[in-house]
Symmetry: D2
Subunit: 355 residues, 4 copies
């Protein structure tokens, strides 16, 4: 249990990782604890996890410069405990262990009204469009809260939002008994490997130019790993599959070369999930890559709300998915600068910061 | 390797379990080794497995009396090795380890021409409509042969046809991360439990009035088992699911009470696979059981040809599915009378007979 | 435009068709105009349409006695104009022409959170669980309002809720180029015929024992109609389809005999939508009706919110669906007693009452 | 009825449009009437239709030089009457009116065995890999013949193969009540427009830089047409759809600019069918075009065998699809040189040559 609300109220401020100005870096600041509306809850954040998007904001790259308007508390992956509930909240109570969907959706557009609110036209994203979770407290609407079983360890609970991306990308179409190639073994790719195996994939091949990540890929259950700097990935996978290719490609790297390779190893009639975001345009031979192949290409954005969360819950609670090997670093919240350097180095899986 | 073909040719006859007349029982007989056509192969049978349908034929019950026209070699589950190939066969060769789809389809009806040949209007079934596999040799068209990896043990390879029923019933719609109730823990139900777990089901509940089978259900991975003679299954499952019911029901018993119970524990919007064949009509409350529930009820007949076989191959070759606990008895081919008695007793999982 | 809100406020009361006590009938009463909450709107009802459910309530049959708690304004099909909007309503304004989804859903249960809110565990239904639309005004939450184009005639707009049932039942799986049998030619069945034809069905067969309704079925585009009192429907349809049966059966009658006939004329691999609610249990031969047939049976409850509404809008606005022949009677709101008698007689399609 | 088979046998030769050498053009030649195998039929060709692929072969462009090995009778769209049947043919007889699937598939590869034989790994295509239909007679295996109702006019029956491409591209995912943009109004695009309307599309927008084709597009039912040389197609379509885009894009042009425009007008969560074959690589912004959009991109190759043919039959026989406006020219078989010039000019829809 966290400290009581009375105590919380006694101190008006909280620590937060704050991007104050339009420049690289971030600082730990004391800011006001947020006020909650009558359909919102206040959460005492207990652990946060770091994502590539946070690094973009921290480094203030081109994307961040276009997208982010400081001042902002960033961060969107967390778990914690509810310490206050608004008067109209009906499904949550003080003491509940929770995480949250990072997309706060309008509920009123075409996509929201037809079961695709993850593609909401008026979405507001935590840690991008409004203050995020890199703080001692965060206030959020009841509608985006995901109540989490205490059986899920805090560190795992903290990155459910990111795990959800991989659950969606992997399970968006049939995976059981399929041959699968996962391009990119950052945290999302590593999750994907574990999810595919938990869902009964026949064989999972993992591709990444980072040796450290390939070793994590093996721990997550990859049957074979490939370093594209050392082998011709396309040739090898085609050889392994008797030139037929794999049933499913899941692209988590955002690398245009990987995308091309992915199409080249895709079986006729295969499925290609695209999640990794390229920073430049990617050139395809539509005839060979998509048309004659009869390919199904699926753009993956966010996670289905809350279909994906229920699937993730099933995989975690049953024990079918053991996600722990992905967590390579556990640090204190205040060590965030070191954590960002580590993330930048690529020598990590998932980094969890505890408060 | 089996004995050479020259040797085979030298002896004109083979042993077969033969139903000569319209009465109970069967006898071991010497019959001619079948001749093959130019698109057929001859297979040396190495192991056969027994199915409820075979018991019906053996016991000569009402169904068998209507359906079967002796004289007939029965049996439809087997594995063996190809010893002769017709002149127009292109994908198989002597020495291949194989099993077979038991439905020999016309390839020309609406269902065959639209990817549903398992529902062929003019199907001929091995061991029912033409001589089966309870014999030393069987001849079959290339089109129904399933080449099997030598990595699959002979005993498992022998009942792929039956395992395919369960693969189809289980994987016909999404199962990953779902809660599943399996009614009936005969061999098909036991397979289903293993398949559901291999495909990442959240929780699998097994129901059967036979204690022996429930113990096998646990070995196959059932999270909880229920004996309907001892507990109110509906009440228990609803309690466990906070009155919401399970996402998926798979009915493998053919018992009308089980079918009713299945609908009563099905979640709103859930999926109900029906495979077990009731011998009497079943009465439903369509309003509560199907309509208000928004249920999806799927009739399962045979296996998809060959989609289901590829899925089964994936599950077996990857090791995701360990089917061995289902095999409770390994006997000699000549012990078939004892095997049928055992099957009748219900104190068995799958019985494999070796030749 | 309707009269101004100032005028509305001036009169504190409105006329409503009111079920005051637990007995047959209803009376026109003056009741208070409802107050709206900040996420609600007040609608001036301009037309209502009558449904079998309303007749159950009016007649106070067994179902109504169990389900309904007077006092209650009943009715759930209407169209009208918004005259007042709550302070937090963002997508609607005074003067909007609207109808409404009759299921007010919780938004928080499993079904609501996974795109199946039409199966909400805590649904409240207009005209059943709370005051309905048989009144001059109705207040409703923004979340259940369906803004309707002024291109849709008022009389058609009034029964979109019911039309949605048929749109859902028909389009829940593929219909284009399929052969379709529609059992029951009440309003829902008549809608179904028109929808199936608008969506490119190959042939639509309509079955009903009421001659008047069969003539309406023809007007809606049925290619052939069958009176089960005069012909053996199963035999005729099998003959027409060369014993193969139809691709799709849509059951709108709730008659157990029709359900049985429906399964008997369903093609192997066919789809069976069940919407009509039988008042007694229905006995099926699961082996022949569902299992060997490889049937897909889909329970249809309500309408998908709002997927179905968008589809209905597309069909109505494009002109692909001409629904007018179903409207057989246009009456004054105050003539409701006569309208109920007419509905009871079965000599009608849809009855619209204007205010 | 065609002339009797005795007469046919009397003359050993037939006229055929023949590509003798690796150079542009073709000539009318007398060649031997083909011999049929026991699972084949001989067809007296009564009408053929011309396709872009035939023009490539005629003009001997880069693609043709790589793909085609003369000598060859080309052509793959036709209708005619069976004049001879092999001894093992069971579903066809002399006098049957037929067309044919142009992909002769192996029936034994993974794709063939899993219901996707249109993606067969060892396909042989009529008029490309073996002699085609631009001749008085063609011999084909029973398995690729499509028996056609005499209700379908000869000229329409002749191009069912091509119409099938459009049926597949359009109906591969839901189209009813959807907004649809068709890029490219050659024969395939024109077919698509008609099919989409027949299947109940809400609105169909057609895009082509050729005024003549846009006028045909209107005749086929396009609600609006756009000439990209005159308007900014993306801007216009976004304006029309209130910046939301269309539900479905069907790309029939193969023009990279059209592909890009297609993604730009696709709604979030929309479906994009790709059929037109670009001759150069196409560059996409994966982030905006596919990922954030949650797009489903479907490569369309050939037609589903024979699912698509049954759908086409349903649309044609019911009269839901009137395809006649696409047929702009009816010529004699011997006028093929003039027909190819016409096809090259783009001032035509479908050209049918009669024998």
């Amino acid at each position: 249990m966290v400290k009581s609300w009375l105590y919380v109220k006694a101190r008006a401020e909280m620590k937060a990782i704050f991007k104050e100005r339009e420049k690289p870096g971030a600082e730990l600041r004391e800011v006001d604890i947020p006020i909650i509306g009558d359909q919102e809850v206040l959460i005492k954040v207990q652990a946060v996890s770091m994502c590539g998007t946070d690094l973009h904001i921290y480094e203030w790259d081109n994307w961040a410069q276009r997208r982010i308007k400081p001042p902002l508390i960033f961060g969107h992956e967390f778990a914690g405990e509810i310490v206050k509930v608004g008067s109209k909240v009906t499904t949550l109570k003080i003491g509940d262990f929770v995480s949250a969907e990072s997309h706060i959706v309008c509920g009123k557009c075409f996509q929201c009204r037809t079961g695709s609110s993850h593609l909401c036209q008026k979405v507001t994203i935590i840690g991008l469009d409004r203050d995020g979770c890199f703080a001692e407290y965060i206030s959020l609407p009841e509608s985006c809260i995901w109540k989490t079983s205490r059986k899920i360890p805090l560190e795992v609970a903290s990155f459910q939002e990111a795990l959800g991306n991989a659950v969606y990308a992997t399970l968006v179409a049939e995976i059981v008994a399929k041959s699968v190639a996962v391009f990119g073994c950052g945290a999302h790719g590593l999750f994907t490997i574990g999810i595919a195996k938990a869902a009964g994939a026949k064989i999972v091949l993992a591709i990444d130019p980072n040796r450290y990540r390939l070793s994590l890929a093996r721990k997550m259950g990859a049957d074979m790993v490939f370093d594209p700097r050392e082998v011709n990935v396309v040739k090898e996978i085609l050889r392994l599959t008797f030139e037929a290719g794999v049933d499913v490609v899941i692209e988590m790297s955002g690398n245009p070369k990987a995308i091309k390779d992915g199409f080249n190893v895709l079986k006729k009639g295969g499925r290609f999930s695209v999640f990794g975001i390229p920073t430049v345009d990617t050139s395809l031979n539509f005839a060979e890559d998509i048309i004659f192949k009869g390919a199904t290409v699926l753009g993956i954005s966010g996670r289905r709300i809350f279909d994906t969360w229920y699937k993730m819950e099933g995989l975690l609670e049953s024990g079918a998915l053991n996600i722990k090997p992905v967590i390579t670093h556990r640090m204190q919240f205040t060590e965030f600068n070191a954590a960002f350097e580590l993330l930048k180095s690529g020598k990590c899986g998932k980094i969890v910061l505890f408060l």
